[in-house]
């Protein structure tokens, strides 16, 4: 990319300023800190060279579509309708910024208003913010919100919450006055009995994830009763919003705050980002929501119009008293979510969810029967479940990879209590053939290892 200024224009512009060199514009910078050498960067590349270079770099990676993958663990492969990249790449969406000037930004504003509404409908809530960095940071800020609502500072968080999310909320908590206590799991589900014991007058709220990191469905209702009894908010973390195409949504089960990740809804896995978080709440909490909100209003002539609203919560007005420091969010990904939920619509989202469900259950029973893998838990699941490998999981995964299969996520990285456990995810993208292929290859790998051990 080349800048538009020609040499003669530069001269003319300088002379309009009464200057004779570009350098003079920088005389406010102390002389001794002005860089006396060129930055040490590689020589500049033309567009064609860039393309070549990045194709080479991309070629050093091994995309999921070129292999069989049962990796999930918070980031899910789903079919992405072709219209999504086609629409969000439109310059008018991609190269606009925060819609501060409503009259010049109705496109973004309406799309985000629709996004907020669609998310609310999916998870059964009444208001959602205009997106957050990702599910993990959304959860962390939902934690702050809970503390703000209950005016307490000890949060009980389930060990079933995605490990990265727990790490992030841990990091965030160092700033605020929040402390975290972990709710243990029993058979893959958060132990309600333990939670009952742990709740105290200091408790600011409870965080569960459902389906949780192991894919198990949590008993949200039981926890919401516990929370209601103690007048503290229940926060549900959602990694896989598509599950709520068929599952009763947290909003209906008594969640006060739903903090989630929208990657599943039309966003590529992208080596982890950009993805998109959201925080959705019941009506009474809207003024505590962090981040931007788009509201529907009227214009001067009485026509419906959209605008950023309740900005008094935000940093650019409230500064240190703001509900959060978030400014730039993940708007374009939110638009992708809105397009996804619109084009799949009611039936498509249900279909996608049911396919995940049936395929995952098919795989579960097939693998239980045909391979040496055994289920780690008995809990109900959506499209993800943990299994025990009779050999070292690292070994197993490596061998399976040689057969062209990414055979899941080794749980013990985060849960030393489950050595040899792997987390397996099946979505509508996986085929029966792939599931059967897994069986065959897993048997082969395990047989060989048994043989070698003898």
């Amino acid at each position: 990319m080349i800048l538009p200024h020609t040499e003669s224009e530069i001269k003319e512009m300088l002379s309009a300023l009464g200057l004779s060199s570009l350098e003079e514009m920088f005389y406010d910078i102390p002389e001794k800190t002005r860089l006396k050498r060129p930055l040490n960067l590689p020589p500049k590349m033309s567009e064609a060279e860039l393309r070549k270079q990045f194709k080479q770099l991309a070629g050093k990676n091994h995309p999921l579509s070129d292999q069989i993958s049962f990796l999930g663990a918070g980031v899910y492969r789903h079919h992405i309708p072709a219209i999504i990249p086609a629409l969000i790449s439109r310059g008018e969406f991609a190269t606009a910024y925060t819609p501060y000037q409503a009259e010049a930004s109705q496109g973004t504003l309406q799309a985000i208003y629709e996004y907020q509404s669609l998310i609310c409908k999916l998870v059964g809530m009444e208001a959602a913010n205009a997106s957050h960095y990702d599910g993990a940071t959304a959860l962390a800020e939902a934690g702050f919100m809970a503390a703000d609502i209950s005016q307490k500072n000890e949060i009980l968080i389930s060990r079933g919450v995605h490990p990265h999310y727990r790490q992030v909320i841990q990091t965030y908590s160092k700033g605020g006055e929040i402390s975290l206590m972990e709710l243990p799991l029993i058979e893959g589900e958060t132990a309600i009995q333990e939670a009952e014991k742990m709740v105290s007058p200091k408790t600011a709220g409870i965080i569960l994830q459902s389906p949780n990191f192991f894919g198990c469905l949590e008993n949200i209702l039981a926890f919401s009763e516990l929370c209601r009894k103690n007048k503290i908010p229940l926060i549900i973390s959602v990694n896989e919003p598509l599950a709520y195409g068929i599952l009763k949504p947290p909003g209906e089960l008594g969640a006060d705050i739903v903090a989630g990740e929208g990657q599943s809804l039309g966003i590529p896995t992208s080596f982890g980002g950009p993805h998109v978080g959201f925080i959705a709440v019941k009506q009474q909490h809207i003024r505590k929501l962090p981040g931007r909100l788009v509201g529907m209003t009227l214009d001067k002539s009485g026509k419906p119009a959209f605008t950023l609203t309740l900005q008094a919560r935000e940093q650019h007005i409230r500064r240190e008293k703001a509900s959060s420091n978030i400014c730039t969010n993940q708007s374009l990904c939110a638009v992708a979510n809105a397009i996804y939920l619109s084009v799949l619509g009611k039936q498509g989202v249900q279909e996608a969810a049911w396919q995940c469900y049936h395929k995952a259950h098919y795989a579960f029973h097939e693998w239980e029967k045909e391979t040496g893998l055994t289920p780690l838990f008995k809990a109900k699941f959506f499209h993800e479940f943990a299994m025990q490998i009779p050999i070292q999981s690292e070994k197993f995964l490596k061998e399976m990879k040689k057969h062209g299969i990414l055979a899941g996520y080794p749980i013990e990285i985060d849960y030393p209590e489950f050595p040899g456990g792997i987390l397996l995810t099946i979505t509508e993208v996986n085929t029966k053939e792939e599931i059967l292929d897994f069986s065959k290859k897993a048997q082969k790998v395990l047989d060989l290892q048994k043989c070698l051990n003898h």
Binding site: Q53, L71, T95, Y133, V343, Q347
Partner: protein, 481 residues
């Protein structure tokens, strides 16, 4: 004819997307009625409905691709299309963050190279690419400051911010648990040194500074400021949203800053996406490295081969600040930009962004009040004081600019300038475009004087007229129910 809501276009049983048919038997022992949801109140549309809806919506936006967009403090420069092409390669977009290292060497190489280049550009020793935006980078930075002092067993409770600072600075400091102390600006738009001295103490953890600041002015006392803060053991935090005008000219690290965040979505041409996503890498000096969020990308030799890996062996790390490793596809774009410019190119960017801003400032200062009449950097702040005398506010001028086909400047920021109009042209705009904008501004100044109601009634040419923000806040309607 503004577009109806997507919900209003829905028709029962319509379908927009077809899945491959289910190739496994249905799982009979299905969801119980307590577990299953009854209704899914999503809209039902055809693919064409959806394409048409969002295409039409998009056309209601102003954007860089359609309009000059001199939104101050946002660096709305051209976003090269080649970057989008590169970021959409399936070798990048179709990677899972938990794939084994040998399958993502290219991705890690990109991150490694970007870490190094950003370190060189900012004059820092180490970079984390994890933060998703500028404010997120600030938070990361302050948590590192906190961890550092905790480690040193010093308890420092205050963070200083100039009154010209961006709202994220105080908000971040508060979020990180600090007491925020505001430092007034002096008559040159810089930090008032006396106040700074008075505020400094062993209780100050850091000073957060934007320099060039949000007035577009370079604080000439920068070395004195960093000296003063360091003297008291404080940390110097650099808000790098305004890095654009000093690229290759000077480096925050060389001014004495200890922590820096940069906004890849400003200086480094990541498209702003209607408000995001962005990317806000953070750089630190050596002594803060142990506190960096994990993981950091490292390189080693693996049986003679270069091998990139994710290193999370940082026992003193503040932890993770985001799931996975940052907004990776944006890192691809950021790296592509740096590589496409080289050292000379980056410096040229700085120079011409400053040239453009000064050119406009000089042309406009006769018509609008210029509170700080000195050389500016990439942006400058006018005040609509003169126009206010006729009842025309900065926001009126902003709306009127829409009728002239321009996105308005940032308004009412920085807070220390009355009726502020903060103009950042960026280097990718040509002189013709600047001249056109200047003419429009001059014309509006005239209109404000001769026909103020014309300006106050603007805009007239946008899909909607001025929105009722009071109504929006009084009866918040955030969800179509």
């Amino acid at each position: 004819m503004p577009e109806p809501l997507i919900f209003e276009k829905s028709s029962p049983e319509r379908k927009g997307y077809l899945f491959p048919s289910l190739d496994v038997p249905i799982f009979e022992n299905s969801l119980s009625s307590e577990a299953a949801r009854e209704d899914l109140p999503l809209p039902e549309l055809s693919e064409l409905d959806v394409v048409r809806h969002f295409t039409r919506l998009s056309q209601e936006n102003f954007s860089i691709d359609t309009h000059f967009y001199p939104l101050g403090s946002c660096t709305m420069k051209y976003n090269p299309k080649i970057h989008d092409e590169l970021a959409s390669l399936s070798g990048f977009s179709d990677l899972h963050p938990f794939q084994p290292e040998d399958q993502v060497q290219g991705a890690l190489e990109i991150m490694f190279q970007l870490q190094n280049l950003l370190a060189e550009i900012t004059g820092m020793d180490s970079i984390s690419l994890e933060p998703a935006a500028g404010a997120h980078g600030e938070f990361t930075g302050l948590l590192m400051v906190q961890a550092y002092f905790k480690d040193k067993k010093e308890s420092r409770r205050q963070v200083l911010v100039p009154d010209s600072s961006h709202g994220t600075n105080p908000a971040t400091a508060a979020m990180a648990g600090y007491e925020v102390v505001q430092i007034p600006s002096n008559s040159r738009g810089g930090v008032e040194l006396e106040s700074l001295k008075q505020s400094l103490s062993e209780n100050v953890a850091a000073l957060m500074l934007t320099n060039p600041n949000t007035l577009g002015l370079f604080d000439e006392n920068i070395l004195e400021i960093t000296r003063l803060v360091h003297e008291k053991g404080g940390i110097l935090y650099y808000d790098g949203a305004n890095l654009n005008p000093i690229l290759g000219i000077a480096r925050p690290g060389d001014f004495g800053f200890d922590v820096v965040h940069v906004n890849l979505h400003k200086t480094f041409t990541i498209p702003h996406g209607g408000g995001g996503p962005g990317a806000g890498p953070v750089g630190v000096k050596k002594f803060l490295e142990p506190y960096l969020p994990v993981p950091i990308v490292k390189k080693k030799k693996n049986s003679g081969q270069e091998w990139y890996y994710l290193d999370d062996h940082y026992p003193k790390s503040i932890g993770k600040i985001k799931a996975y490793y940052g907004n990776f596809l944006h890192l691809v774009r950021g790296l592509a930009y740096i590589l496409s410019q080289g050292a000379e190119g980056l410096k040229r960017i700085a120079e011409l962004s400053v040239l453009n801003a000064n050119y406009m400032k000089e042309a406009l200062k006769k018509y609008y009040d210029l509170p700080y009449d000195r050389m500016c950097q990439h942006e400058f702040v006018l005040s609509a004081k003169k126009q206010k005398a006729y009842g025309v506010k900065a926001s009126d001028i902003a709306k009127r600019l829409l009728d002239y086909g321009f996105h308005p400047p940032t308004i009412y920021f920085p807070l220390i300038v009355e009726e502020a109009l903060m103009i950042e042209p960026t280097e990718t705009e040509s002189r013709e475009m600047l001249d056109k904008f200047i003419r429009a501004m001059i014309q509006i100044a005239e209109e404000a004087e001769k026909n103020p109601s014309l300006v106050k009634g603007a805009p007239y040419t946008t899909p909607i007229s001025r929105v009722d923000e009071v109504l929006a806040a009084r009866k918040p309607n955030l969800c179509w129910c």
